[in-house]
């Protein structure tokens, strides 16, 4: 069984930076890779700030944080990941980009190194295909923001060995995360349920059944959800919802997964959600209207 001491994370976006925080906080030597030096600097800054807050809140000691930051490295070359026992990729959600990355890493990393993908929509088996170590590739889908959310959906691909999957599972638990096992199926559990549900919400609005604020109130007061689906869609970004729909519809051909016409119209109109100041609700800085 692989003993994991050094963790590589590919991609210094929000997800990758968050996963690197999780690894560093759990006491692993952590190497964050990105080709963009600015993204790496930003991730390091976010990590320092997050861990400092953890000390303020009494969750970590200053000594733990000092040790974590001493063991936290960044690199802009793949060779910098040569010492890693596991590499988790959180790069752009595109099959060929991920396949190419794992094929290159296969030449850089030792035999025992496990490859994990944080994909939310793609097939683990397909990502692993052709990389040269298909038996040591697993799905590890963290939730956003990774440093706060415990859940990790873990999936073996068709060629993943039991040994590799067990090692990755034990590593996930050692990170202090809560793994759940799912099949290598589109969207695993979370997005499989969420993406079409959110589309149904958009179709209800489009059909004139109810206004966004009434739908959100129903969901929160009726079911006890913390956030209404329209608020959530505004947070996810309506353009991102289109990408999720396209990825899902492409593999499932389920009409519920197809992007509703209203979603396309809203994106075309620039109503992307919080990031553009307007989606199902209007936002003036962080203030919400219509709710």
């Amino acid at each position: 069984m692989t003993t994991i001491q050094t963790v590589g994370v590919c991609g210094a976006g929000t997800m990758g930076a968050g996963i690197a925080i999780v690894a560093a906080r759990a006491g692993y030597r952590t190497v964050l890779y990105d080709t963009n030096m600015k993204a790496l600097e930003r991730a390091r800054g976010q990590t320092e700030a997050f861990l400092a807050k953890s000390v303020e809140r009494g969750k970590l000691t200053q000594e733990q944080v000092d040790a974590a930051m001493a063991a936290y490295k960044t690199t802009d070359t793949l060779d910098g990941l040569a010492e890693c026992d596991i590499v988790i990729e959180a790069v752009f959600e595109n099959l060929s980009v991920k396949q190419e990355l794992f094929a290159k890493l296969n030449a850089v990393c030792p035999e025992h190194t496990l490859f994990a993908s944080n994909t939310s929509t793609l097939s683990i088996t397909q990502i692993a295909s052709g990389c040269g170590r298909e038996d040591r590739v697993v799905g590890m889908h963290f939730c956003l923001p990774a440093q706060l959310m415990k859940l990790v959906e873990m999936s073996p691909g068709l060629n993943t060995s039991d040994t590799a999957f067990s090692a990755a599972w034990a590593f996930c638990e050692a990170l202090g995360q809560k793994p759940v096992k799912t099949k290598d199926a589109p969207g695993f559990i979370l997005n499989y349920f969420l993406v079409p549900f959110n589309n149904d919400v958009i179709r209800l609005i489009e059909a004139g059944v109810a206004e966004p604020a009434d739908i959100d109130r129903s969901i929160k007061a009726g079911l006890g959800y913390k956030m209404g689906p329209c608020e959530l869609l505004d947070l996810i970004g309506l353009d991102t919802q289109v990408l999720l729909c396209d990825a899902f519809y492409g593999v499932t051909h389920d009409p519920r997964c197809a992007a509703p016409p209203l979603l396309h119209r809203m994106v075309a109109a620039g109503h992307l959600g919080r990031k553009s100041g307007r989606g199902f609700f209007s936002y003036d800085t962080d203030k919400m209207y219509g709710a």
Binding site: K181, D200, V209, A210, E211, D214
Partner: protein, 216 residues
């Protein structure tokens, strides 16, 4: 304060037990509320009222009032307190309107319901209203994925609780509230909309067959 009276037409899904809404009713009032299973068939036109509330289950308001050329609407509104199967009714009331429902009737209905501590979400008169229409396909999918072995029931429930912050997972919720009730609601929606996502999942059909034989 808007005064209201209640016409009791049988067991009520919205108010199975004592509630401030029932306690607050008088003998007469500006508003009258028909509650219970016979509400739709007992409804009577009464232009002298500011609002007439009709409790709905799987029916629509138009079945009481009639519909005409997309111009229907009066002082009558529908309502249903959201509840899954045998679960305790929530504080959420779906208030059902038609295209030309009187604004004053909607306002009076809202005041009466909110005055009893309930939250109101307004929607137009379509089967399943807001919540059943949204959650039934999700429950059917969860049941189907359990059959397909996507994950264990516990892991599916845990995933939506940890990942989405839902208070309860779909499988435990359906077990708690009665899977055969889910069958009945989603079957009614399937008959109206005809799309496969409302078709009762296999496990719900099994639960329904057993319930018909008096088994749980």
């Amino acid at each position: 304060m808007v005064s209201y009276s209640i016409v009791d037409t049988g067991d009520s899904r919205s108010f199975p037990e004592d509630h401030p809404f029932l306690a607050g009713a008088g003998a007469e009032g500006e508003v009258v509320a028909y509650i219970g299973f016979g509400a739709v068939s007992s409804w009577q036109e009464d232009p002298s009222r500011t609002a007439i509330l009709v409790e709905l289950t799987t029916e629509t308001l138009g079945e009481a009032t009639g519909e005409s050329r997309g111009e229907e609407g009066s002082n009558t509104v529908g309502f249903a307190r959201f509840r899954v199967g045998d679960g305790v009714p929530s504080d959420l009331v779906e208030l059902v309107r038609q295209p030309h429902t009187d604004a004053a009737a909607l306002e009076a209905a809202r005041m009466v319901l909110e005055g009893a501590g309930l939250q109101v979400a307004e929607c137009f008169d379509f089967a399943g209203r807001i919540l059943d229409r949204l959650i039934r396909p999700y429950y059917n999918e969860a049941l189907a994925k359990l059959d397909e072995g996507l994950a264990t029931a516990d892991d599916m429930d845990l995933t939506v609780k940890l990942g989405l912050g839902y208070p309860e997972g779909p499988i435990e919720l359906l077990e708690r509230t009665g899977l055969h009730h889910h069958h009945d609601v989603t079957q009614a929606l399937f008959e109206v909309y005809g799309t496969k996502h409302y078709a009762p999942a296999r496990r719900a059909r099994v639960a329904k067959k057993r319930a018909e034989r008096g088994l749980s």
